[in-house]
Symmetry: C2
Subunit: 164 residues, 2 copies
């Protein structure tokens, strides 16, 4: 039941900054860090979850699983809303697509693909982009090395410097 997200105060920003780095912290520890009781922290966190603002996931080390990552930039054939919708649905449904961003400028989309090897990667990219008529051009770039890995978003608390 995703309700609409409520406005966030300073407590929220600081909690979200901490949770983005480590979601295993206890309510007591979080409360001590921000100056709130465990109950208050608990209430706020369940609000984040039910509003759809936050979800908690495990992030795996790509190097440890030696999977093949690739970045693909894509330009569509025509500026048709219909075709964009179909493309986006395909991206969301493909399990190998990690991330997909619509871009400003000459390239319409950036797509990050995670596969189990170069052969699998080629197969997935062909299926997703080659066998589709509404794609004008796409460039596949294999990832040699992951330098930094995460999805942290900036909050006022992060800007102010909560970093340990």
């Amino acid at each position: 039941m995703p309700r609409r997200p409520p406005p966030l105060d300073d407590f929220d920003h600081r909690l979200l900054a901490l949770l983005q780095r480590d979601a295993t912290a206890t309510l007591t520890a979080l409360g001590d860090a921000v100056g709130l009781s465990p109950s208050a922290v608990q209430r706020r966190i369940s609000r984040y979850r039910s509003s759809g603002l936050m979800r908690q996931v495990a992030v795996l080390d790509p190097a440890a699983l030696d999977c093949t990552l690739a970045a693909v930039w894509v330009t569509m054939e025509r500026e048709s809303a219909q075709r964009h919708t179909a493309f986006r649905t395909r991206m969301r449904e493909a399990p190998e697509v990690q991330q997909c961003y619509e871009l400003a400028g000459e390239w319409d989309y950036l797509v990050l693909v995670a596969t189990t090897g170069v052969a699998h990667c080629r197969q997935v990219v062909d299926r997703l982009f080659l066998d589709e008529g509404n794609i004008r051009r796409y460039d596949t770039h294999l990832v040699f090395d992951v330098v930094k890995h995460g999805l942290e978003l900036p909050t006022p608390a992060i800007r102010a410097g909560v970093t340990p």
Copy 2:
């Protein structure tokens, strides 16, 4: 203390697939899903954590926080290992850099930047790429819309289709 990751069996693959989607699942629920006792699940999970294979984080919805994302592709001036090391350290240390990948081909790096607005974004990109002598060229692409968002890596269990 990060020990070296042990080889993974089918139980591990299935657990990791589930945890990548929802890290709040209880040990009992995970155990029921894969056919293991909660204690066995617990031991495996602590192994993932201590080996550095897995970390648990909160992922926030970029739309809800209306932050500005940008993708930057970068080509270095010369193929000097030293300069690459310095660049990578800078990427890792910059809080606005979400992800950084070294690429094969004409572009050396893909960098994903998360900022609080276009002004902040321009400032960050200038600081990270413009004011640096060893960068030959970089292209900044503002993100219009986030179509898909995640860091899920493929495991044999995911390929086999654990998806609900």
